[in-house]
Symmetry: D2
Subunit: 432 residues, 4 copies
């Protein structure tokens, strides 16, 4: 979790203070439930509420932990230093994991709420671009090679639907992680009533983990981090698209370049797509959490603690970086500079060979075999590229072609509007 | 995809013959739709139907591919060798990806149908074990160390719920992948009506990809393979549990050991949990597909072909191995030998210190501070372990303890039944 | 291991027949050593030698394995079916891992010998290109944006040095894996003299594993597969370079496009860099072996068998695919089409702003502050790009610039030869 | 990089202050070389030396970076704010990567120096344990099942040799990364003499990167992080061994449990192997850097900046965590509590079946076929386990066995000393 790639609104969720506040909240609700059941005196609730704005002295808690080698015990000892003897009523029948795992669920769920907002903002920006450039013609490329025309709006609409799927995935994943557990040692409720768990979870907006073995099973978390990794890779796909389109030879879009910005310390002429490149790297960072998250599933028996150190790192890191990346991408798309003129220029760069499929189809429809048609078209198209001459002119001079096609038919074949006749259909599917 | 870890029912889905059959089916439905639209003559359908039981000569197709360097063109050329000139009506306005991606979706979806069946069988076996051993007492272990009692049924119930979540995840993932696309070069439908796509997909039981850029976007596939990886890791968790419980010193369960089986070439006394260990390795193999599947998302522009080689391997490998692993695990659980007597023996191995939490709670309830109570219990418990003497006896001789507890209260504390009083609640949550 | 990405010379190493031959060879040398020590009768050697051209009937061996659930025992039983009772002298005091692990080392080492040859061929081709294009001028790009001139030879020389480092790494890794072990159960030599191990390893060209715990420790294998992954990524780097340079708008190089090759089933004009894209995908496939190889290190106690299934897959897959990829890349580079004219054209695409650093430096040397110089140069350079006018002309009309620079000095600044004055130095470092 | 898993000595290498100090040092040596070549005035050196104890105000530098969007330019601007106009002589002909990459090499190399020391300390502790417990008998386990006797010293000696290989690997990797580059934009030395690079590298103890394309190629870094990942996995292997041996039912070793330490908040009797479990998790964290490090190799053309964010995280994280893990493991091993009595007890837990191989061998040597011998031994051994009776007694009553063996021969077979007769040989190989 490094400053450079963080937003405060997300790092706050992962701060020590916030963590201790959540622990306190969990313990408080557990006390309330226990008091309701008559297990502990009701007075402890008042004591806890009077101290609810406590500042958690991380330094002192760490000091205690150095001795006890146990973070939750250190926290409870710290509480007892403040509220005194009554502290013994707190945490009764519970085990540390009850607090830790329920807190981690809350932090992940709150993170996902932010990420969901991020995705929605991104979707809005993508939709704007899609609508604005619905018919901004540009070349579609397969294998980096000019293929056939498409529109810049369609590119954006594709990104929109992909991110929309990611939104759905994230919602599913966040529901998976929205569970708490207060089940005691090895999850047997030996010293705590399941009603406490139900009460605490309800108050915290969590579902109850059906069966916990002291810990909430880590398949939930793995599914969560996998989802973040899919989103990260979709971010990278879009970032790489921008990087490609901003290349010197292509220059169809450009990241916003602010006043005073310097592209290179040595070469003042540079305007680099550094945000997209940064997003490419951030994607790798998010993605790297998926393997340890999967390995974390395989805990021994009712639980071991090997997952803990992993989650202390990937919990904040993956969510903080993804939040930053989504925000950066949103901003980038919002301020993206689009060059429709360059798009048009590139579209005709290959002397019209991008119409080759139409010629091929027409020839086969005129009765020439597919094989033969392919050869005719390929020969002329490659010549058009190699000799930098008009593909249409070559065809007009090609006997085999003109045996079956009239010049007028050729005109129709080279009419670009046919490539856009179904854009409406696609948009209707996506935007309704 | 190696024989050793394959079931024919799954490898069949990935055979060359099956692949070509699916391609043929896609092309045939596309022809039907095209004929309905009047684009091509209806007669082609009859020709195709007359040849529908064609044996696809993989050798010949490969030969053609060596020249054309293109698999779908090789396939179409092979068809034209068989049905003659009419073949030119096939594939009109389509691009290879229309066939390849739609076929891949079908293969993945059919694989997931098998995997769903596998999971259901496993769930049945786990449920049987859970019900049978609902009150088969055993020690719960955290950190590999005896913690508190649980039951073997609860272990199985936990695995059941985890696998049940995996079933839900797999259903979601299989729906994600159940999409087809017939959208032509760069997905612009320039030479093919979207109605063809709708028709073909409907016939094949697929949804239409809202917007494809020649290819179906790979975030769908990444989500699919991520899900397989989560399932694989849950398999490993259960396999590792079996491996632990079959250890010589624990011996609470054992894999079935068949007549004639040999555990070791050198040591005839060995009965090793080789299937569980094998499942551990297979899990790693399935999991390794997740990173390349994520990297595959980041294709260039409308498409590049880098994903293809990856999917040729991980498509069959991950599904075939997962199918094999689930089947092996099911069989293993169905035939698992459980040793309740050994479980009971292990339960009391630590001279009763597993009741330590109860003592702790009781002491705090009697007014001793949590800190002080902890020290009393810890001291006696560790002595009980170190000196191999009864924890209860030590407490009976401990002044601080007996100052506040009566012998009768101590008896209640050491009553094991309290650990099982909520088993019913948990089972009701899970099995209703 | 799929045909499509395999060369026979490598798959042969991993065939069942070859595996059994190696097992036989190991057992035979072990017998020889045992006979020399007087542990078993010398006659067994003759028997084994008479049968050395045995055809190993994989089907029959698999049949036996189905009963014994143990591959080495099945093999030994098969041998005894052929050579009869004397077979009992084989494998005495040994354990399966002695055979399996030593064989795996041999297979990996022989694979690495092939891979080393592959790398040497690639290096030769890269060196040829480097020498041929030492002064073939082209634009250097950072962030996909034109930066300053370089030469195509330098690109090739860079790839050469990177692959040369990979060669060294592979040699190191192959030495790491060139170890055998014949140490019996848990590696205690309880029933076999360490002299047998020394003898067998010497005969097979292997070093002796200093301490094996029945198995050869898997850190050796992990280091090996990590090395393959680094090589794979370097392959991808070069493949991505080719893909970029073959882009329609750049077209500085092109993969060889053979007679009869078809780039697209729909668009006959396409010449796609499909081999480079394929190499990009293959790289992902090789790389995915690194995590399971690392996880394999963590075996339990003296050994468990979880690594076995993993290695049955990644052993052949990673080596076979890497061999194929290196061979493909070699061929691609050998037949690469280079377009120096296009390189030159691209070089001047940005109206000379690629000389911006020189202007900057000269201005600072003339006493203008770095900050101020940067602003002057940046302003003119960005205008040259935006308005598509000559950067030099703009400077000639820029007062601040011409206050300190003479037109002649400007000429010197725009002299491209300065960018190549150290090419010799670099080549001397690399090629001597 | 989180406090909890950090040592100051390592985090210092990665502090902002240290980074800026290294940048300053690089720029200063570059100025010296430039001054020697007469490119800039010698006076700048004095200015730089007078300011060498500068406190780098990270806040101010960050402020400038916010405007320039470029970290090195921000740094240079900061310098110019301090030393004034002469700052224009700094960084002449250089590009940011010259500073960044050379600095990163230095940080990684210095990290590796610490890690090498860590490994040496660990090796010392492992050697001590190996020598002390050379003949501390214990059971060797394969598949978690008792196999044959070994010694605890051998376990430690194995860990020693594995870590020793890791030491060699790390030395190799650290040499790979010990390179600097001062080659200017796209690495063409257009405005800087290669002599500057040679001078700076020599002063900093680095080798010169033979050919850099503005950046040092990332295969070097990938090899470095791969090596850290192998070491991490070896750490996990040893940690898992400790976790196994500390299990309640095994209890052959125990992590040191300090005064005041609390194993569980709920169960005061617990002594958990939390450090070994923590090391298991830390291993996953280190290992996760390998994939992004490999992906970083594939930069575009002469360079892109996608690697930067990745390295800002994994650079410090992987080295800091590995340093912490090695230190923790060293301490753990130094203070490890070994229970030889429990080892002895476990050794005979299976009623002597661990001698089964000896019986098998003796029977085959007496002329019984391997197959038949195996059946005899297996039958008796499994009965000994199942009925909890002495294996030897069963054999004494087994006709088939006693037909060929005398009771005296049986005694020899069950003599445990044979398992340790080659320990000296192994130790000689390892420790000389």
């Amino acid at each position: 979790m490094i400053d450079r790639y963080s937003r405060k609104v997300m790092t706050d969720i992962w701060s020590d203070q916030k963590k201790y506040e959540i622990w306190y909240e969990i313990e408080r609700y557990a006390c309330e439930a226990q008091a309701n059941l008559g297990v502990i005196p009701k007075e402890i609730i008042d004591t806890l509420d009077q101290n609810k704005n406590i500042i958690f002295d991380a330094k002192r808690i760490n000091e205690i932990e150095k001795e006890t080698k146990h973070d939750v015990i250190a926290f409870l000892t710290f509480i007892s230093e403040i509220i005194g003897d009554d502290a013994r009523f707190i945490h009764q029948g519970m085990t540390s994991s009850d607090v830790l795992d329920t807190c981690f669920s809350i932090q992940l769920f709150r993170s996902s709420e932010l990420l969901i907002e991020d995705l929605k903002t991104l979707l809005k920006n993508l939709k704007n671009l899609a609508l604005k450039h619905k018919f901004t013609k540009c070349i579609g490329r397969s294998h980096g090679i000019h293929a056939e025309p498409t529109t810049f709006g369609l590119k954006m609409a594709q990104a929109y639907t992909e991110m929309n799927r990611n939104l759905e995935r994230l919602k599913t994943a966040s529901e998976e992680i929205r569970v708490g557990a207060i089940s005691g040692a090895v999850g047997n409720y030996s010293s705590i009533d399941p009603k406490v768990e139900e009460y605490v979870c309800k108050k915290l907006g969590l579902k109850v983990e059906e069966i916990s073995t002291q810990i909430i099973p880590r398949d939930r978390h793995a599914a969560f981090f996998s989802t973040l990794s899919v989103i990260a890779s979709s971010i990278e796909r879009l970032a790489v698209e921008i990087r490609h389109l901003q290349r010197t030879e292509i220059m169809e879009v450009s990241e916003f370049f602010s006043k005073g910005q310097k592209g290179s310390s040595a070469m003042p002429h540079k305007k680099n797509p550094i945000h997209s490149e940064n997003l490419t790297g951030l994607s790798r960072l998010i993605r790297m959490s998926v393997i340890p998250a999967l390995e974390n599933i395989v805990l021994w028996h009712e639980r071991d603690i090997s997952h803990s150190s992993v989650e202390r790192v990937i919990g904040p890191d993956a969510t903080v970086i993804l939040d930053f990346a989504l925000t950066r991408l949103s901003l980038l798309m919002e301020n993206l500079i689009v060059y429709p003129e360059n798009m048009k220029k590139n579209l005709y760069k290959l002397n019209g060979v991008i119409f080759s499929q139409n010629v091929l189809l027409k020839l086969t429809q005129k009765g020439i075999s597919r094989e033969e048609s392919y050869k005719i078209v390929q020969k002329n198209a490659l010549q058009a590229i190699d000799d930098d001459v008009s593909f249409k002119d070559l065809l007009l001079n090609d006997k085999e072609t003109m045996n079956v096609l009239s010049p007028k038919e050729l005109d129709q074949i080279f009419d670009i509007s046919r490539y856009f006749k179904h854009v409406d259909t696609i948009y209707k599917r996506i935007f309704g």
